[in-house]
Symmetry: D3
Subunit: 292 residues, 6 copies
């Protein structure tokens, strides 16, 4: 069960409206690696957790914090959209030179065209649950497998991709209010990368999981002769120069070797005859047929 504090976790107030940056800021809100994705991912991982309570509590703590990050971004975007683009149009329209150079197109359309048009038409100057290209958020972005090592690896990724995107956005604005909020999100992403890395270490120390994940599957059932072979699938051997091609493997259970790709079978993928009632193309002409 959840409760709401009317005060935000951190300030979300720009110096001035900027509808074009509002469009870009949709990425960390509703993009593949945005705050909705981590909020939903952590909440579902927590609700599905069958492991020790310290993990379940930890996951839900951060999932709950992320709802507040979605709130901060939604608020910031609403404020970046506060000056009516219609207003801006009218100001601009007074400059007749501008109209001229746009070759007959109206300057107000040009500014609007740079925006996400749904910020005006659909949301009336409000935030949208979409990414910076306007794609609606989808649950296809999130992950909760029941295996905490597999999931914590996803979480480290999400915090890395997320921090990377926020860092790029920091470079795309000079608004000190926006940068203030981004610097908060960057710091929390730093924490969360560290947190999930620490949690991975803890899982291993608790003896609950290790590489190769899932470690509870009996490894002798896998085709062990290819478990530690790097396969070179191109001409040239630049890929042989890395730590993945020789030496002990990170799981401490094998040694890397390096080999050219080759078939380990004579199976050429030939399929059997088509059932005539499927009307697929057969090896040779068949009489017409239907089920009775």
């Amino acid at each position: 069960m959840f409760t709401h504090s009317k005060t935000l976790q951190f300030t979300a107030r720009p110096e001035r409206p900027d509808p074009l940056f509002a469009k870009m800021l949709q990425e960390p809100l509703g993009g593949q690696w945005g705050e909705i994705s981590v909020m939903m991912t952590y909440l579902f991982q927590g609700w599905a957790c069958r492991g020790p309570q310290k993990y379940k509590d930890m996951i839900l703590d951060i999932g709950t914090e992320e709802i507040g990050h979605v709130e901060m971004l939604a608020t910031m975007i609403a404020r970046l959209l506060e000056t009516s683009p219609v207003e801006t149009q009218e100001e601009a329209a007074k400059d007749s030179f501008v109209g001229a150079i746009m070759g007959g197109a109206r300057i107000e359309d040009t500014i609007l065209a740079g925006m996400n048009p749904q910020h005006v038409i659909v949301a009336g100057s409000g935030p949208r649950p979409v990414d910076s290209a306007g794609n609606p958020w989808t649950a296809g972005y999130m992950t909760a497998s029941g295996n905490l090592l597999a999931d914590f690896r996803f979480n480290v990724t999400a915090e890395s991709q997320g921090r990377l995107q926020v860092a790029r956005l920091y470079n795309l604005t000079a608004d000190t209010g926006v940068r203030e909020m981004l610097s908060f999100l960057l710091a929390r992403d730093t924490m969360h990368q560290n947190q999930w890395l620490a949690a991975i270490k803890e899982l291993e120390e608790d003896g609950l999981e290790e590489t190769p994940c899932p470690s509870n599957f009996p490894q002798e059932l896998e085709k062990t002769d290819v478990s530690y072979v790097f396969i070179n699938a191109s001409q040239g051997e630049e890929s042989k120069r890395g730590g993945w091609a020789k030496g002990p493997t990170p799981d401490g259970k094998g040694k890397f070797s390096y080999a050219a790709i080759k078939p380990l079978t004579k199976d050429d993928g030939t399929l059997g005859q088509v059932d005539p009632r499927m009307y697929g193309t057969p090896q040779a002409p068949l009489p017409a047929e239907a089920a009775e």
Copy 2:
């Protein structure tokens, strides 16, 4: 540029047809963490790589191998579908008792209903580019950011989630042919988890990237007072018992602390007035208005 060997990388031949398992085996083919996802992810990461050549070559080697894994799964599914369900229907229909217990429903429909119906209707006993629930594969599953640490973390995740799903599928079939192929995929997933972990270590040793990722963003620009604080957002402190709540942080740059969630601002998210030509709900009644 790519070339094709007519022989598969590894055998993909079941003991016998099994249309219901064919549906399940779509998950590692066309699911969020299936072979199409890793194939496309690695190829795009490789093509976009601006780092040292050994990384680019390595990424494309594995990406190229994965095309062959897609081929193996597609072939296996086609073979699992080879006995016509229509045939099975006719056999089953002879057993009048069966008809009776299904309460008037036809047994052939019942078997078909357990299948992915598109295996028959759309693909005529062929594989589909979808997951086990029938959702088409989407590029929203893949990731290529240009930052190799962020991406390699994704890749470790993909190989972990993928191996987890294959291990579960191993338990859901007793077909020795299918299990043989799954044991090959399990082994390659073991390799690939190790490979990406080794590559992450190499990136760090090469001085190209480290935690917090992206490390090239000047960390003093983030809100450093919350960079290493675990925030407890629920009553109770079970989450305090983990390694993420105290001690040095994995990035070696800080120490974890633990604090209850609280607002760090007085900002309550109140927005400004609505532009009347947006027709949003205002604070108080407004006269009707339109642009001239």
Copy 3:
């Protein structure tokens, strides 16, 4: 900012596992009219609200409650999946008659085939952010326009469609634990239908909005001669018998009339010439052309 209570809002414990009902219960969790949809809809409407504070607070109160409903459904589904289907398989496999009647298909596959296979393969007996047919939740389901009357009408709809689905699900299970939770959701849907209807009345009484919505658009700018005409587009006049074809209109501003459909223009939709560099099909053959 949000905080989490470890105790659920209401009990979510079934009498016994039922993986097939777990699939169906995904509809009110991740379907078009499920709890994720109302949670996200109300939160975004609240964060974007520029109207009086009582509305903003009310919307966020219910949005916050809905997060807890998502939690209850996720928990219930996890519990319905708790008995391993693998276990069930083994029990069933002992019954050789069963194997016989399924015509060679394994009974365990048949049971699994009735499940959402991703409950096993992807989530390892956990809930999924999808609907009962397995489609991932998408933000294309939600609505937040900035106009509270338009949005509250959506909200009444969502609570009606949602209550309808829960009522149908009530009929599809005999599990008293599941029914107990559904009876809680039904009651809250009753409240929320009433709540949004009361809020619509309040909006009108506060003079903020009325039919036709948006009321702030100057109605004289619309083509008023067709503002209150019912258009009969088929042969026969059964549609004339309803209250929408005669008498005063609900907005109190007109009277319904009834007329057969007919063109109000001579415009036949003919388009202009194609630009030759678009390579569309022209009226008559054109010479080959490209931009220089």
Copy 4:
């Protein structure tokens, strides 16, 4: 069965081409609340109607009219795209100052970039079945439940959101031809809001349905002690000031009360043990295991 009149229902001719407005006008064509959505929604509701004939006929009359609205918008967009952007480019390119200020970018690209590029590349100056951000229309937008009250509430919403968007678009163009068509659509939306409100009243008067919808579910089976309670999930009580917090409820069956959120259970959502063959994270280390 349907027939087509070659004349449009209403004129759809702009004063002049405007490729940027063509992009925006995609919203009422192919957006969540656009004409394709209402066309498909009403047709499916009509075809699935099991209620009195007057309702079925009425629903299909309006569904049929909406096909013609899709036609009008498609035609208008095709005409707004009629001047080749390539032509415009050439005109613009003559102005060397323009080239200078764009920092080396070509002005024609700038204009094209403001367009939906698929209007040129994919459709060759034709309309697209997408919204203003370029997302393809999806049937996830439409609704047909078999319960006419639930569906008519959706229909009122659709006509409200639709009219709101058209009103905003009216403000974003000064083209008198476009505005003429929008004023027709605004008027029909006025009619259709009134029509669905009248139909809801009729359903109630006919004794077929009422609040809470579905009214045929025995209300004593719901958890009646929370059926009329407003739950305050945040600090502060602004939400107590509305008509949803006290007084009789709109369904005439209860009285609103107001209470702080609290758990109505001791259930803390703890799940049972994980099945070891799911390879989820357990409470404590387990030996490796697979199905035989």
Copy 5:
């Protein structure tokens, strides 16, 4: 503008309900190659047509007919769902043996599990705008390019894939009423394949378009030395045995030749340096940097 006849184009009445076949029959309604796809495709092609009137009229005639086919399928599915599955459950539940063999699962759930659960939960025994796997119809399936040859080729495909699916469905039911309707759809698909092939011939005879499409692009601007070469990308030369590897080409403008794949460039795809403010992985370590 469109009008509706209350009588269907052809009978759509099954002998008896069959909820499992109703699920399958969704494919020709809402699948990639179903009737909604051709209806929308033809209507958009017609509305966007800038060629001779005989084509525009022909395209819209068939598009209008297809609306009626959607109606027939929707009606048939509603009728196949008419017996309540709940009823069927109760009948079945009397057979105690059945309960036994399902290992504790309820037989009614098993039947329901074979259905599309949304037929009950969402649509209340009505049709759904989805395919046989439950995926919502999307406009990503349709095509309207403005070039009639490219589009008519799509249309021949759609009628071929569609007829193929209907033929397969004919084999999956023994219901004479359903087969009667399918035999009508098969005949119309026969007509429409012929119709689009005839239209392609006419386009060529009218001099409006030919192979390679678009023929109005000056062919000398293409890299003509590879315009008629079959490229063998695998070991072995089975592909040399076909008519695509030798002899005159169908466009009458060249001769097929056959060659092994090889690079026609020395370009190895190496990219330039990463911009440091993108935080991508560079060739060598860089100092931390941000925009000022």
Copy 6:
């Protein structure tokens, strides 16, 4: 199994960066008719082929070549994005006049707004698996039915739509490097249109398939009296002037006739009573009811 050549099939190097054209060039990479679509389509058709080996080999040869085309486009887009937009911003920012005319918006935002923002934020100057409007590629675009005639018709379409789009893109850039690559793709599309047309002819000559496809379905089972009738669904008879309305049909099995649309049944689509436990709207009021 596949192997990779480090050298591209053809040069993919622009004269100069152009982030706006990079956005447009996403269409032939990740659009409905882009190279990912044909790559995946041909690979799946080949892997599922049950016909003669010459077809299977041919299909996989071209599928393999297409992987290399995806590589070329991905490389070209990465290079078009190589100059940092941030850099361009700074240059532009020096021109104070520009800032003035944009009405307060920053010029760098204006340029960025014309880009696909994900090229910067998500991919860090790399290619994206999306179309020119930013929609992620989906497997809903591809087709593999098992019937080679149906599929080859799709393939001709794909090469036609693809060549059409590339021709349009040729007109939208003046960059000689980009045009060089496009001229290569245009030539290969010419080849591939011819190739699939030749393959269709071969299928017919081999007696494997013909019109109406699938030809193996017994044509006497279709409703033959409407197999060759053109149905006029609108007033006026322009559609009578084409070759589809008279004369022998392309399949050589009939003659076209022309008739006005009319119902061939008295079925008016009326449905049966609603099951009361579905809570759909009935013909007349019913008592409340639930399953026991």
